[in-house]
Homo-oligomer: 361 residues x 2
Amino acid sequence: MEAFMEAEYIVGGHGSRKIKVLQEAFQHIDGEMYSDHYGSGETIEHFQRRMAEVLGKEAAIFFPSGTMSQQIALRIYCDQKGLKRVAYHPLCHIEIHEENTLKELHQIEAVLLGDKDRLIRLEDVQAIEGDIACLLLELPQREIGGQLPQYEELEAISAYCRERGIKLHLDGARLFEITPYYQKSAAEICSLFDSVYVSFYKGIGGIAGAILAGDEDMIKQSRVWKRRFGGDLIGLYPYILSAQYYYEQRINKMGIYYEQAKQLASLLNQCHGVRTLPEVPVSNMFHVYIERTPAEAEPILSRMTQQFGIGLTSYLNENSETGHCSFELSLGDRYETIPEDRLQSALIWLDEELRSHGPKR
Amino acid sequence: MEAFMEAEYIVGGHGSRKIKVLQEAFQHIDGEMYSDHYGSGETIEHFQRRMAEVLGKEAAIFFPSGTMSQQIALRIYCDQKGLKRVAYHPLCHIEIHEENTLKELHQIEAVLLGDKDRLIRLEDVQAIEGDIACLLLELPQREIGGQLPQYEELEAISAYCRERGIKLHLDGARLFEITPYYQKSAAEICSLFDSVYVSFYKGIGGIAGAILAGDEDMIKQSRVWKRRFGGDLIGLYPYILSAQYYYEQRINKMGIYYEQAKQLASLLNQCHGVRTLPEVPVSNMFHVYIERTPAEAEPILSRMTQQFGIGLTSYLNENSETGHCSFELSLGDRYETIPEDRLQSALIWLDEELRSHGPKR
């Protein structure tokens, strides 16, 4: 949507992914500091220790990406148990965005749990036929709007896995973003899991990079695998130091993003033919569904941008059954820059627009 | 060696691996430029096109590391031929520095060619029992001092592989560094190979990152594998833009580094009990052998640093048979900063020192 790119205010995110994100992070860093060196050196070790502490784990290791770190965690658990079988949600990242790597690189079979339109429940885990080495949970479950199970359900799943000797791994790409809803620290949530991956370019807004945290032995093995994968770069500091910089800036703002997400979702749900999933967000993210085809919705959203200077989304997905459209919103630093009355006027206009021009089919 | 760290002049390399290497590269880059985005966008596509041209290949793809890119190239060739068997030198990087990844991640068998102390010859390739999918050549062969075969031998190996349907891949981590010796362009050398990997933090002196170049189809497949490996980062620009910056700065200096290496090796070979491998370097690198144990050589080299301000090496390897020591030198921007008379005085002193104090055993 061309109009979106010209919008004075963009609703989601922290800002454009521009080179200045790196430049800002490195502006005040002492140039005489040494690069990390193939996984060693204070630059990387300091951040790893810090994150191990934040996540309440014995050890942590910095990876270029979550994709690399998570398959390594699963591979280690499978090798440990001598069983190449894991389970996870049908729409988790590793299943739909990673080109079948578990099968192609590891010959690991994945059991898809429950239904793609809802969260995994304890009974889904209990119903797995045969044994598995590891259960991976993605919190929040991004592809269904970032939903979260009740904390008690998580505790029950964790207890069940421990009893059965099933490793429990957390895809915590957006872990920091869910701490305000659960009213738990990252370490408290992670205590239910054997290992966890967190991302530094989502809620934190860094450039790229991930931390994998777990027990000493598992992280030690991960180092070997990181080398095998070609992830043990001679210098990862462009990601590490910017992750650290933006972590400090934003870690205490997760509660604000969450409150803003609830506020915005509430406003959107008041628009005719618009609903959010979840209805009340449980993190900084949610999905927006509009009862219009992309072709119908696009000109309306573009006009909203032109009239009010507010860009809601750069794209629209089409639902293959209903033909209606949807998009994802993740709130960050940008939201607070939008004048409140401007946003409200825009959404009142959107409501009227959708109300007066019914769907064409 | 503590004294080395305090040396006024260090003989090898471009400079310390400090954060300012990144800061310098980004100082004059427009902050409004957009990040690459999961392998797309001008930032990455421009550099890939440029490198495809430099290497004379149809296409190129930027990788976080050579380790990642090369195993992917070999995997693609093995899958193509339905034969998980490749061949290379016993001391090539993939064999000794990558934690057995070909076996652990790909179940690829490696045939080690020839002898570890010399280069691969055509007859070694001809003597391979059974078929292989790919032959990997590392030029220069780093672990034996960066030696190079005669160009005619290379042409013969290439012709043989083409005849037999064996893919030929070049580990060109130091490809640019050998162009002055062969008096060939990178593209001319690469024309003998089906694919090539080049590094941007060796002779080029960038932060990290690699290019894999080959035909369209092979590079297209590499993109899928890059995603599987977790190398398809949302932003690789910290490496790409610094690779580009230092490429421009140094690509035309490879001839100077080569001449300096020959000059320095000649001076070292005049020292009693010192020899270089190769005797006459064929790139900017060579190995230095001293007929002393590390315990004997260290105090001598330290005194040389203290008296002349010149640091020759930060470490000494011990030969398991002779007990004597050796180290690697790769010349870069630092060499030209050393006052010539200072270096000569230091090496004359070293010669006398080694001459007057014979080995203790």
